[in-house]
Symmetry: C2
Subunit: 165 residues, 2 copies
DNA sequence: TGACGTACATAGGGGGACTATATATATTGG
DNA sequence: CCAATATATATAGTCCCCCTATGTACGTCA
């Protein structure tokens, strides 16, 4: 339960020795696998005409309206990039730009029905592409993947906290 | 998001149906996790000044020289894109363009020492970024990730076969 | 009220990726 | 053997994404 950065000290009480050598090797192999997956699945996952950043922005809007700067942080692009992106997606009819009543500088970006449908298509394509990839895997591998999902989510949660702080 | 029903205990020699419901759910959640990972780690993993396509091309060259068309297929870009990419990387000193003796149309793209160093830096940055992400995970999650690595590789292997055939 | 800070937009430029097409080199049928 | 075709790569032209630097409108505070 230590939160120190890059702390490689001993994990007391654990039956496995997950310190530097194994940890390093895990990071190495996992990194290779994730990069390979990203590169190979990028085109299969994204429907034509939707960029990765557009997809990320739409997904960031699922939980409710966001201002432009917040979206830029969430998707990890600069604010001008997000401004242009939002304007483009407004032109496509995927989002609406409402003005906040209290502060007239901010624009509240929110999904339209069309945008929600784009998200559904996006997720459907993603699932379809991955189902094809899972097709040849034995049940043991599928179980291993299922068991690893919380850990995979945990990696990104740490990342978002690190970026936010 | 608990995935209790997908755990390992049901799989000893059982014809557990990894058919529609569980399979679909696995693809869905795994897809979400992978997309999230891709988006969040893209900037952390790639050293500044190296694009994802450049990285993929370098990695594809690790196993030996390749012709331009082969690289384009491996990295999943068009041939003109790969031509420009290779010329750019030649200008950077990362690759060399040798002419095949037998067929003077083809160029054999191969890594230079500099290119090999770029790959090492790339992998080091990747591992470093991931190590930071693994930092807060409990040993159980680390074990789950380690166990899932062959399966993760299996997904992409299927993809590459599907593309090739 | 005027100076400063914040939220977003605009301007300009570089790079990546595509389609269509050109060029140079094999390969093949008559 | 030569013209037609096929193959490997390069060039041209365009669009989108993303960046930095800067501008504009609005809020905040002394």
């Amino acid at each position: 339960m230590n939160h120190g950065p890059m702390d490689l000290r001993r994990l007391d009480g654990q039956p496995l020795n997950w310190q530097s050598p194994e940890r390093l090797r895990l990071a190495d192999e996992l990194g290779a696998a994730i990069v390979e997956l990203s590169m190979r699945l990028r085109r299969a996952i994204l429907p034509p005409g939707i960029s990765l950043t557009q997809a990320g922005t739409l997904l960031a809007l699922r939980d409710g309206p966001q201002r432009v700067t917040g979206l830029a942080d969430a998707v990890q692009v600069t604010q001008p990039t997000m401004s242009a992106l939002v304007m483009g997606m407004e032109r496509l009819g995927w989002v609406r730009r409402d003005t906040d009543g209290a502060d007239r500088r901010v624009v509240a970006v929110c999904l339209t029905r069309t945008g929600e449908k784009v998200i559904r298509d996006l997720e459907a394509a993603r699932t379809r592409a991955l189902l094809a990839g899972l097709d040849t895997l034995p049940a043991l591998d599928l179980a291993a993947l299922a068991a690893a999902i919380p850990a995979l989510r945990g990696i990104t949660q740490h990342e978002s906290k690190a970026v936010a702080s």
